[in-house]
Amino acid sequence: MNMLQAAAEASTTTESPFADFDDFIRLYQQRIYRLLLAQTGEPDLAEEITQECFIRAFQKQKSFRGDAQVFTWLARIAVNLVRDHYRSRKFAIWRKIIRFDSSEPEKDRAEEVPDPSSTPEEHLLRRERLERVSWRIRRLTPPQREILLLSAVEGMSIDEISRVTNKRPGTVKSHLHRAMMSLRAWQEGERI
């Protein structure tokens, strides 16, 4: 657990995590963005869903009962938003096919806005690394992807992942195992 995570969890024990929403955003936005970026592989889309996630959290803050950690609750919102996004995108593709509307090709959002504060070399390196990670992660099924990222990137326990993804712990273990087998195959393949 890094300092940011520790600070975030410590703040939840003392008072309402939503008392200062600005602080709340600052504490969790990096983790949520990281999770969403790894899931989508598209920086702009990840940013858009991160914003949507905090707006939902603000609107639904009364539904947070405190029986789970704040980040678990927030991650659940984020995961549901990603699922909704891909569901609606799938329907959008069908709508396009039905209407024979090919005038607006899908934009490659990752290409759109370069980070202005980093050097071009850093930007390029990050892009390459993101593409490599995305390439692997996209090959996993959506549940495997969600579970592997929550475990490997966010360091969540099986129970926490079970709460976030609304799946039984046994199912979580099974998906994690399959995702891990794929990950091992790719990483070993890279070494050869």
Binding site: L37, R129, V133
Partner: protein, 172 residues
């Protein structure tokens, strides 16, 4: 003696931080399983590093994003307030309209109120008026019927002569 090796699923769960006492005991004594778990952990660490590096941004960017979120929240808040105000305005307008309609319909259906006259009529005077109206002359149009009644009265008096005195007394 080393018990049966852990399954891949158990090793994955152990790498993810979930260790039952049996798994923990086995990992302490079995170097093969321990190495496999360490390898899985390394894969997870590599993935984490890749993701963290890809998602790294400057403090300026994070600040921009948090401001943007706060702006959007403020926007949704004012939109909610606007819609709430609009809702209340609509409800108030509908209620006012209903009230006006109700008042109008009520006004139409109420019977006309007779304004009280300056000199109130007493009960005795009212009764006297009714009696006068009963005893007043038969209207012209009903004169033949009045003649018929008087004629029939004459016949009746002749046929019931012994009872006529008592009847006449009671009517008087």
């Amino acid at each position: 003696m080393i018990s049966i090796h852990l399954s891949d699923e158990e090793i994955t769960a152990a790498a993810a931080g979930e260790r039952s006492p049996r798994v923990a005991r086995h990992l302490e004594i079995c170097s093969d399983c321990w190495h496999q778990m360490a390898m899985y952990r390394e894969h997870m660490t590599n993935l984490r590093q890749d993701v963290c590096f890809s998602a790294s941004r400057s403090a300026i960017d994070w600040g921009r994003q948090s401001r943007s979120i706060m702006q959007r929240i403020a926007g949704t808040r004012s939109a909610e307030e606007r819609s709430r105000t609009t809702g209340w305005t609509l409800v108030t307008a509908a209620l006012s309209l209903a009230l006006i309609l109700f008042a109008f319909v009520g006004y139409q259906s109420t019977p006309p109120v007779v304004a009280p006259s300056g000199n109130p009529i007493s009960d005795a005077a009212l009764l006297a008026g009714v009696e006068d109206r009963i005893n007043e002359d038969v209207p012209d149009a009903l004169q033949p019927a009045g003649l018929l009644v008087s004629e029939m009265g004459g016949i009746g008096r002749q046929s019931n002569a012994p009872h006529s005195h008592s009847h006449a007394r009671t009517t008087q």
